[in-house]
Symmetry: D2
């Protein structure tokens, strides 16, 4: 039954990735206008390489590599798996072409499909399959961000389409959480990432947390009242970065004739004041909260309150660094490189976004990004 | 008659540009793997924009811009013509797509064609047309270099094709040129660039110049004898640059199992020892000459000897800086920006290459590049 | 009585700072060979400016600035206190001269001394005085590191002297700490920094922690067994940094004829295998621990075990990010900038070093540095 | 007689170098606030090392190095002479101290003095001595520029003194130079640098050249009329550099309350309108000339007109690249590195400045700097 479920999930995931790319022109698959951004072509190849390398090559002794050069082209950071194209040069790759990458996808999807039709596959294979699916779902979300950045870098600012849209939010209410001991981390039976374990207890003081994330209208107030010009709301590192990068508003925002516009997947548009704020760094989230006389929640406060929160449109910056839970250890082998090696100088985001695959996130899910990242659907929720 | 000739020349030039691009995949039109390199898409649009901006818009009062955004996208350096995409971001442009750029080309070619069917066009229009053709021929040559660099940046190193190939050279002979006064610069009646004028006299000491340019076999000897490790052959700036960029051989060269290979338009191949050396910077040319106990010619020595030289496969670095001739002045208006504003910190190359359009170069032609450039078909000829 | 104690402490602190500088040549006070390093001259002026700005100017209405330009010269990061010399330009300042800076110190020390002879000074003044003393003690430690770096940057590698020396360590033993709830943070009545409060409970799993910090001999083994060449021990960010900076050993280490030497304050010397390892980044600490099959303690584990640990020669990297304790909030005014604004992308170090002023550190003390810092007396203690 | 003259010249030169440094504080000898600037300490040591290395060590077989480490510390670019402190790290050297460097100077001066008291020294020794003197005179001029830059980098902008002051200039007149053949290059019997030879003929068109260099008042007009905002006067490379470096006026200039001030060796002062313009790059010189409807002279035009020009306060940018004269070849050995290896991407300046040692320059003297250099006494003379 697990096999059957994962088989379906696998096929559905492969289809969704391609659906996300459907509105693109062939040229849109190529550029890398920001170091953080990968060309869509690369995402398509990399997620495929993952199944080929960790599943087909491992569990099918006779599996011949689709193209031996792809290992070099589509490895991301897996030092275990050898050399790779440097990250800052992914946008130089015109080859393989988009049709060639799609052919690669198709072949690997078919090979995995065939494999999954066999009976009584070992649990270990299914474990790898599940990680591969989860991995591809993570790249789906990056694909959405990267596509927005690529299209938003065009002087003509073409629209992507209407597939990803935000809903207006009501005024938030304060939810009180009492002091006490709370269990955090994954406690279920299903899939979770290694970084969500092991579940453990934390002791929290009482606090209040907003029922809704911050809206554009609130942040506009912060900007108009000089939030970007007043160091006292900012962490020192954030202040220096904001000055160096000339931040005056969230990424994609522009003021024209007194009104705020932004580039969104639906095109360059007036900002809707009641939609959730997004495209801010941790530093901007922190500065905004500080200006409000509030603060960001820790990831454990967030998790303790999660059941009572309205969420799901943007990832929410927390004031927790991305660090191992008690008892965490890096698994041996290449898949052990998956999460643990990124545990320095990043902050945890909790929740999920409109770009998150259905069912991908959960209460204990720990997303993480460097504190200056802005090209994702990142917002914040106030705590006090 | 001039009009008829230029009309034909125009159409032939437009066709040749597209023929150069014919072997490309659609993705190959997009990347910019080196600041000096422009995406082929950009060359196609820019040469077209030139005719639209300086010809159609000027001589046809009713001409409507094909797409007003293209002025921003396809301007190169013409400050007169307003803002433009920063040079280092050309590779971020996925839009307009390749088919859209070709549609733009087609429309402008047709509009110019129509215009040129009118009778008795003013000479000034024909002057601009001629510059536009020459301009596109210059970009054809850059296109060849840029395509080689883009394809050569692919880990798979795909071949472009057999369109541009080099011929083996015989041993050079020394040609003696007597001391005396020589006239240099353009003295004919046809087209020349402003930088070739005015013709003037120079006084040269006697010298000897090689009948042929340097071959790969000569340069291999320089490498094998430690030319890249011995500062005494190098200019100080060249030595520092070679160290900083880890130069050990010309661009595209690689030693495998004791043999020298290079990426060429025909693919990754063994180097033919008798073909002309190419893909070297001015600094490497100078160091090689110095190692040989010779030197590079000045551009005037080259010109004085030109009639007696075998040439035409590679551009030849001279030891002349690119500076104005006596009496040179920058013409008013945007086309005046054409040549004069680049007259600092570049060196003159003389001759022509296998990528040069037929009839484009001439004895007085002054090509110029920064002293560290290597991605062109650049070689050298010894003088003593 | 508090006043009397602080008065003495103040005078003792001022003297110790100058004693640390006593072995320097006048030129040694000037350079800034690393962004993290400040010229000794600057430390002398800055710690003085602190007392002038926050004590004399505030509590003596008639106090005239010693030199109005010094506010600009000797402000570090206090945005509240206006403009300042950019951090990366401190080494360009030849003026004021060293004697001028000492004259400034002398004048301010005398003025504070005079002020402290008054009776019944307000508690708030004494609070500021105490912070000023603590602040100067922190800079004393930086002075020692910066002096080592400056002298170690001289090709002649001159010795500083014998003032700061390390003791050999015995083999460590494992100390077991049982699972349970522990109170961390400052609980005493005396001085502590705002970042040590408020005291709160944490729940810890059982763990073992080494009684001693790691010695040079242990780390040499790590190096000799290829620790710097094997990615699997490293965090991804650490691995990239180590490659980019060509780290092959701790800062100051050099292998000559098969033996390890390092620049120490006592000169360029053979490394003593039993002295505590120092001059490593967080990333090297983490990689070493991982190679050992162990890990770094969290700051709370360290604090829970502190009473049982041998310590005091080097600061010890923990795997805790420098973040606020529950209930922390930034105090209003310039002194509120003291600690809170640095709470991003740094890691906590616990303990103290041979350069720490007597009585400066304590069990709850939280030192913090960016994860790549190596020029301090930083080592590690294993946990498992 | 030559020996006697050079002996005197040597001693006079050594004294003048030290006199230039006399107004400095000991700390002023240390910093390097710009890559082009060397710490005064370094100049003092380097000019001394030159005599020690090329004279004493060569002509006195028993000469023991004063300090073997100084070869590493005070070599500039002489690859022949081995390794050296990287140029960008000269400001990190606090050791040897200033008194130690003066002791080194004193010892070498005395040793050379003693050597020169011997009779019948070989001509070759005297040749080297002469180059050493000329070399130190060149460094004297750099010392003046570097001292100005170091003191001008202090927030307190201390005055150096009144030793170097400029005279007001009258209105220039146009001097007509007829077309014809002119001999350029050094033709005398005394000392000249290798780059001034060999003398050769050039053919010049007729031109007019200003009797005086450009004054501050003329350049203020250029600034006020938007010269820094109008690309059409600028070379492309100059325009890009001016934008990147935010040039709005010559180096050291600042507008306060509607008046132009600048930092000069005599302190921060109002600009005297009739003094010669200085502290401009080649690009600014070229842009100013272009705005005036004029141009810069070539170095040969300058030389042909030299006898009729008022000059001597500032070096004058020419539009000639620094390249070898016909027949030039690099001498073997370390001293051959002296001039020839810098012959790329620099422009020639002619004349001399108020900082030039008496008798150092001459009509055929070729000074040279990169086209963006501004910290020297550099101005321009109009030609048309």
């Amino acid at each position: 039954m697990r096999q059957k479920y994962l088989h379906k999930h696998f096929l559905r995931t492969r289809v969704r990735t391609e659906a996300i790319c459907a509105p693109l022109e062939r040229e849109d698959y190529v550029p890398q206008p920001l170091l953080d951004v990968s060309p869509p072509k690369w995402h398509l190849g990399h997620t495929t390489w993952f199944f080929e390398t960790f599943l087909l090559s491992v569990y099918d002794k006779h599996y011949p590599a689709f193209n031996p050069e792809y290992a070099f082209l589509f490895n991301s950071y897996y030092n275990h798996e050898g050399e790779r194209v440097p990250r800052d040069k992914r946008g130089f790759l015109s080859r393989p072409t988009v049709p060639e990458v799609f052919a690669y996808r198709k072949a690997i999807t078919a090979a995995v499909d065939l494999l999954l039709k066999q009976k009584d596959l070992p649990e270990q294979l299914l474990d790898t399959l599940e990680i591969g699916i989860q991995h591809e779902e993570q790249h789906q979300e990056l694909l959405v961000y990267d596509i927005q950045y690529i299209l938003g870098s065009q002087p003509t600012k073409p629209a992507y389409g209407t597939g990803f849209s935000f809903q207006a939010l009501p005024e938030p209410e304060w939810i009180a959480i009492p002091e006490g001991r709370y269990t955090v981390g994954y406690q279920g039976q299903g899939f979770c990432f290694d970084n969500e374990k092991r579940a453990h207890d934390v002791y929290l003081l009482d606090f209040e947390i907003a029922s809704e994330v911050v809206r554009n209208r609130d942040y506009i107030e912060f900007i108009e009242e000089g939030g970007y010009e007043n160091f006292r709301y900012w962490l020192a590192e954030g202040w220096d970065l904001a000055k160096a990068e000339h931040w005056k508003a969230p990424l994609y925002w522009e003021k024209r004739n007194g009104d705020w516009y932004s580039y969104q997947l639906s095109g360059f548009q007036k900002i809707h004041p009641d939609e959730p704020l997004r495209h801010i760094s941790f530093f901007e989230a922190q500065a905004f909260a500080s200006w409000k006389g509030c603060r960001l929640p820790t990831e454990f406060e967030w998790e303790a309150a999660a059941a009572q929160l309205q969420k799901g449109q943007v990832w929410e910056w927390t004031n927790s660094a991305y660090l191992p839970y008690p008892g965490f250890s890096i698994a041996p082998g290449a898949l052990g490189e998956y999460n643990g090696k990124f545990m320095s100088n990043q902050h945890v985001l909790r929740g999920s976004s409109i770009a998150t695959a259905a069912g991908h996130s959960r209460r204990s899910y720990r997303n993480f990004f460097p504190t200056g990242s802005r090209w994702l659907f990142s917002g914040l929720r106030l705590t006090r």
